[in-house]
Amino acid sequence: MRDTLAAFVEELRAAGIPVSMVETLDAANALPHTDLSDRENLRATLGSTLVKQPRHYRAFDVAFDVFFGGRRPFAEAEPSPGGDQMGSGGGMNDEAFRDAVIEALLAGDRDALRQLVGNAVDRYAGMQPGRPVGGRYYTYRVMRRLDADDLIVRLLAALASTDTDSLIEDRIRREKAEAIVAQLRTDVDDEVTARLVDERGAEQVAQSRRIALLEDVDLMHATRVEIEEIERTVAPLARKLATRLSQRRRHGRDGRLDVRRTIRRSLGHGGVLLDPRFKPPRTSKPEIVVLCDVSGSMATFARFTLQLTYAISSELSKVRAFAFIDGLDEVTRFFGPRTDFADALIKMSSEASLVRRDGHSDYGRSFAEMAETYGDAVGPRTTLIITGDARNNYRPAGVNHLETVVRKARTTFWLNPEPRRFWDTGDSVMSSYAPLCDSVDQVRTLRQLEAFVEDAALSRSHSRQLIG
């Protein structure tokens, strides 16, 4: 078991989950108190000792299922090399086989189901030994041949009750059917994984199944599920950014002596000034202005920055958001604290006036509008955050307009979701704008955004020194 644990920790680290030496030792110490034959018990032990971050659990589960999961449900059934062998399907034809699956699913008969899943993999997966694959494709093949969508429809029909026709009831029933089929998919996946592990060993299979951690997912190409998960992590991040920018210093006693309160306190000690009181340091109230390119190429990323803006606006009172394509409009009103974010996005795209000509980004024109129409939005306390890929469609860059805006701001950050090596290629004019900004960062992943938030504090103190 110790060797397996070491290999498992190795795999977690390779997947990007930070596991320290101490935590590995904790896991080893916890193993004697764990029922190793119970998969979920072991999962609880390893999960609680090795992984301390909710968003890492997805990657943990993938690795765990390869290393300790599956464990061939019925060891005597030999994997059938060479793929489609109809013989092990119990002689049923496809239709009869699917009926049997439905029946087992409805009855919740786990034993029958295990048998059937094994058969299904024999029949449909077409596994070929020696191929270095993670096995997701095999699972997909089995589920397609079982026709998952049709399974849901048939389960729904069977679950339908006679007495009610309530919509809630319908929705609940559909979710139930989907959950059952999702479980079936997991079972098939376990079976496939177990066979692959038998063939090639856990380390290799884990390697080919490895998935990117949420913080390393490319925001521009994230799946819907990933985006939802990422959006859940935005609120804590926004809070952190808000705190960083507020430069509140509660710990430093660098305020001036508060004579009145010091004397008042001393009365309790017979007039001895034991406990000097200080005036709290003045806290600056930061103002944040976000300029966000929401053109087509930026859509995914814009959604993300707007979400960040939305989250910050519930932390700080003075947040203004501007969106632009080839025209610029203030969108703060859509993202107030009492609104729903998804609704706000829809309202913004239908009501805000962002297009003047052809709907392709025009940074120069947008900056000009910012300088002329909303010149008073930016002041000496303003932190200006611009997000965009600086792809200007070969139009005038309007550097002077941006300069007008930036000169009034305290700090200016530019976040560009494009990889650094693509900056200034084609119609990107990043380097024209870069000298005006306090920092220009590539932000493609959550990890990079977190790094930016950390650094925001540093550049803030830097610029404060300059202002003196």
């Binding site: 904790d26 916890a30 108190h33 000792t49 301390k52 952190k240 729903d340 609704d343």
Partner: protein
Amino acid sequence: MESQWTAPDDVSVALAATGYLSDARIAQVVYLAAQLDKPILAEGPAGVGKTALALSLADATGRRLVRLQCYEGLDEAKALYEWDYHKQLLRLQSDEGATWDDVEGDIFSESFLLTRPLLEAIRSPEPVVLLIDEVDRVELETEALLLEILDSFQVTIPELGTITAVTKPIVVLTSNNTRELSEALKRRCLYLHLPYPTIERERAILRSRVPDLPEVLAEKIARTVASIRTINTRKPPSVSETIDWARTLIALGIAELDDEAVSDTLHVLLKYQSDIDKATRELSLPNGAGVVPA
């Protein structure tokens, strides 16, 4: 440490006796914490029973609960200990003739110490459960205060030396994950992620907390709430709100959970008008649902 527990099942039984329904994972983590003398860090959304876990643990083990509620600006003097200035001053004034050494040794002794929750938990002669609630509310720097206690159950006071725990407390920290906790803190704890309960568990919780609730209705409530949680609302319904909802339905004498009934009582479950609107739309409920007072 808890010698009466020899398997995680014992933990679930003990917790169930106090009215806390655990699941296999919670039971195993609590069991490990007891076996290995490690603190538990319970993290998850508000209202899934993180604090309740600590309360029930105290109940189940018959230990006293010592609670440190965290907040922004919590410091050493509020969490660990403080010297009693007033008493020290009185002592000095009442004893003019004494030598410096006498007085110094004297006023920095334990009788001039005001213990705060952390020190209290360490010094307690009988074993306690220490609950450090909402630890994500203190600043990152303040977390460091906790580290010594968490890894070796001791507190160092410069004037007195190190005070080590007489009996090892069971320590539970809770966090709503409003900010990320430091690596140092997490490393010292067993991590227990508490998401919203599964449908089965929530149904069981309903049955135990609302005994009048018919089985069928409990099942429907649990499934409806699970369904609402899949909608991206600002504040998804917590377990306590589910329980409130069940109680409301019973009080109103609603036995059948149809669209009308859900729509009329949705405001018990969801606390923002925008969420109510959204749920009404997503579940395609009849309109004009659940008006909350402004």
